[in-house]
Symmetry: D2
Subunit: 226 residues, 4 copies
């Protein structure tokens, strides 16, 4: 499943609105909007619904987390081979609700790469983002944790965090794609994120809890094409 | 899915032999043997294959781990509601490869119970097993970690650990079911475990990596009926 | 250093008011009040000030945490032998700000016992306290985490949590001493805790941040002798 | 306490040979050798002995770990202010036996810097070292974990890991000092480490468990002046 930019990544977390049949419905809406607008939308379902969603939609599906192990005696883990076998395209890593040790991020990025999968590392400030970029993931998302889930977008509340991070990361790594996370709630937030030099957004509750997720996402995709 | 005793629990861990289509095959064999012998066999697939297996077999399917949260902003988690929605029967908790904080075991047992699911708490010594029994899970598994994956069964190598644990637990909790884990490899290990006062076994590599898992499991089920 | 009951345990946490010379001053006040009132007061300084405090006061000094290891290649750890060598009397375990895995609590209690030191395990609800009591620590502290640091005492706000916990624990363990933690702020909270069947209290900010810690502690000690 | 290069850092871990009075003796030997040879030797005692050692020797003393918090309600933690108050010069971070989350390393480096202390971040491979260098610590130590405690030095067994790491780090950060850890056992290992482009070594058991630590360290210091 090809990932292109601008990219809109929808993290379903483990919200009750995104479990079981509701998870599939939200993924199907994302697929429809992506096909209509031509903007790549990736969805990140919970682990239990992950395989079913990957079978059911023609857009990239990402895990919310991936452990740094090879297949083996790792009870309760999710490894790159689980994802590949289920046609999952890759994984978020180091989300603010699932922070990882530096050595685990390094190993998980390497393992996803080895099996041909996409890695998107979240980071919460300028220096962590710079550090994460040195691990050569496919993409980074900047998420100041104090804005996550607030409905206040980093691109609006603290545009300087975004521009500084883009500048810091670009000094170390010219190729990594940079997304803007934390508080992305409106189509306008998406537009601002792109204008600040990022290549897309990572959002969650604004989509999952929206009364009209299709209209919201459609506008977000359109506004990403600034 | 009713759980009765003697009970044979097969933890597939994240072995390469139990990912994707191989996972389904191992689960189907377990289902066949269970139906043939009348002994309940439960399977514990990795998270990504979990929902598919629960849809595909008529034996209890358990998660390998469950987080103690309600549905919500918990990226990378698996909660009781994920399991219920996917018709998964319950979960292992505190496996030696996924040890949990005491407060997390207490909360996860309570949450599984609240949504009507089965909890099986692993413990690695007499005092931890006694402590875990005070949390009132449905079942306990005794797994001295130094024997896990060794092919040496606790029921054979250290029968006194089993009898002491059964005695200690029974003083505190008359109702919890007690299984024997760690190193269970042969039908004879199963028989010994039952004779030592447990009501079943928890095993992993002996089944997953067997060249003839069906024959092995069939004999184990038969030997459990001592 | 003998520990007797009623017992008042002062957790200094890592508050700025209890670092370095201020730590020593707070410990000296506790020593004075203990000697004056005849009530045992134990102090729990941060790790760096721990040895100095243990050399400087004639009351029990406890660590805030202890790892479950033997001496060895455990960078950044504190083990029972460190405490014994420094004349520290024992340790808190599983404080709500330093929650431990069940297996670590079990092992740390056992290791402290083996070197002759005192263990005080914190637990946040009835079932965790019951479980912890099965590990046979010297003492337990009940601390509903939603009350910690609020200035609202569990003995006042939720007396039923205290009485239920005492009853549950006593069914499993007749000998463990039970303290009341979380929100203990006034001499009256101490009195209530004792009347509800506990043998002392564990408190922190009320003492550390008091403008007159000596008067507060003196009254608390007096009120503990109901 | 000024830190200059070449630098020999002695991590005492929590070996029985380095607890209490034995800890002080090992620190005193290090002080003597440092004064005699003019090479800076820093010692890293366990937390409980840390303050006493910092009062007793005229060489840099480092903590083995530092939490990323400000002073406050963090039971069982060690923060930068504890170290500063005790005249400790700084801290190791992310040692292989105390791995940290990326966000914790970033925050701890920043907090140590803010209070004027030295930070030495350990990393286990080329990409983690590059990432850590982006956090701008004072120094880095390269420690392939498969060599730690083996008596086989990375500078001897895998010189290419050292040269690659030096090259990778130098691309991103011209100023960070780079040390060589893992398996450093002999004066010759120290010499090789310097010749491969590092500015010193981090070692542990070879010194702590030596029958003649003074002679060993003296030769190591001399061999560091290649």
């Amino acid at each position: 499943m090809k990932i292109s930019y601008p990219l809109v990544v929808l993290n379903f977390k483990n919200y009750g609105e995104a479990i079981g049949s509701r998870c599939l419905k939200l993924a199907k809406i994302a697929e429809k909007v992506s096909l209509d607008t031509g903007v790549t939308v990736a969805v990140c379902p919970n682990f239990v619904d992950l395989e079913k969603i990957a079978r059911s939609v023609a857009i990239p599906v990402l895990a919310q987390h991936c452990d740094p192990y090879e297949p083996g005696a790792f009870t309760g883990s999710v490894v790159a081979e689980n994802l590949r076998e289920a046609k999952v395209s890759g994984s978020l890593l180091n989300h603010s609700e699932k922070r990882l040790k530096l050595s685990a991020i390094a190993a998980a990025v390497a393992r996803l790469k080895r099996v041909g999968l996409f890695s998107l590392v979240c980071a919460d400030d300028v220096s962590s983002a710079a550090a994460a970029s040195a691990l050569n993931p496919d993409a980074l998302a900047i998420e100041p944790p104090e804005l996550i889930g607030t409905g206040v977008s980093v691109s609006t509340a603290r545009p300087e965090v975004v521009t500084k991070t883009v500048a810091s990361v670009r000094k170390l790594n010219k190729e990594v794609h940079i997304l803007c996370g934390a508080g992305v709630s409106t189509p306008d937030d998406v537009k601002k994120a792109i204008l600040l030099g990022t290549e897309g957004v990572l959002l969650s509750s604004a989509y999952v809890k929206s009364r009209d997720p299709e209209t919201l996402l459609r506008k977000m995709c359109e506004f990403s094409l600034v």
